[in-house]
Subunit: 127 residues, 3 copies
Amino acid sequence: MPLVRISLMKGKPDEFVGQKVGEVVYQAMVDTINVPAKDHFQIITDHDSNTLIYDPTYLDIQRTPGIIVIQITLNEGLTVELKKLLYQTIAERLHREIDVRREDDFINLVEVKKENWSFGNGIAQYA
Amino acid sequence: MPLVRISLMKGKPDEFVGQKVGEVVYQAMVDTINVPAKDHFQIITDHDSNTLIYDPTYLDIQRTPGIIVIQITLNEGLTVELKKLLYQTIAERLHREIDVRREDDFINLVEVKKENWSFGNGIAQYA
Amino acid sequence: MPLVRISLMKGKPDEFVGQKVGEVVYQAMVDTINVPAKDHFQIITDHDSNTLIYDPTYLDIQRTPGIIVIQITLNEGLTVELKKLLYQTIAERLHREIDVRREDDFINLVEVKKENWSFGNGIAQYA
């Protein structure tokens, strides 16, 4: 159900960094906000500094070109506490597992109703 | 008013498959949920298997690299029945008209208020 | 807080047109809807006519390949009047500052709750 869009700079040494980020985000959602196993759908785009624009100091957080913008469309209804836990878990694991600076995570949630998804066969599986 | 984002794998034999998908989605919206004629705005992105991530069996639906992810931003207020009709119509027509497997449609709706659009000239035409 | 996605045709004479559009949109948000200074995060994608689809006359507005699709995810709660002022300001400035036709602006807002953002360090800074 979550549809995750991940945007990051290209030119990283490992071409699979986008996928690794995606796996960490997916597992964090399973472990914190009850996303079902296998509910893993993501769109990753690579950018250069002309097309991924960020402020390097907004809110006194020091960002680098290692910034990763994660926009997650998911069902509405999470508590504020669960959202906070999700952000914290993503940031901790991206840092621990693939060495992403904690300052370089940008996360945004877009909430929709449960009938706003079809996972195939033209059926609204969650409605 | 709907803004449609379509993501699919590149390397298909026909380079216009994205456009054809878009035309089917557009016409399905006109015919089922009362989208006005000519209200046709879409952004299509091609991906490889490293950047379009999907689970091949979630909800026991067998997906292939032919997966098409369709995210539609549109005005709020559709009934659940109309949303279901839209999904069904898109899946049936993509299958019949351009041979997309029904299992390979992934559709998500993001709803917004009617004043959240400007179609040009800096005016909120629907407000 | 606003996350801005800008989609435009490639092949423009100036490769930085996307960034210039982004700067105008950012400044318009600061000046009209109270977006904080430095809150500047944008994702820009270039397209060709096969992947950026628009109707050239919908609502009797004459659009050209110079079309710019701007989708802004931001906090909910703006009045209709402020949204109108934002659209008008973006269109006027894009025209005046970088010669974008007013008819070629397509703007869409997606609204989210204030706790739906993390700007780094895994913290929900606005919650």
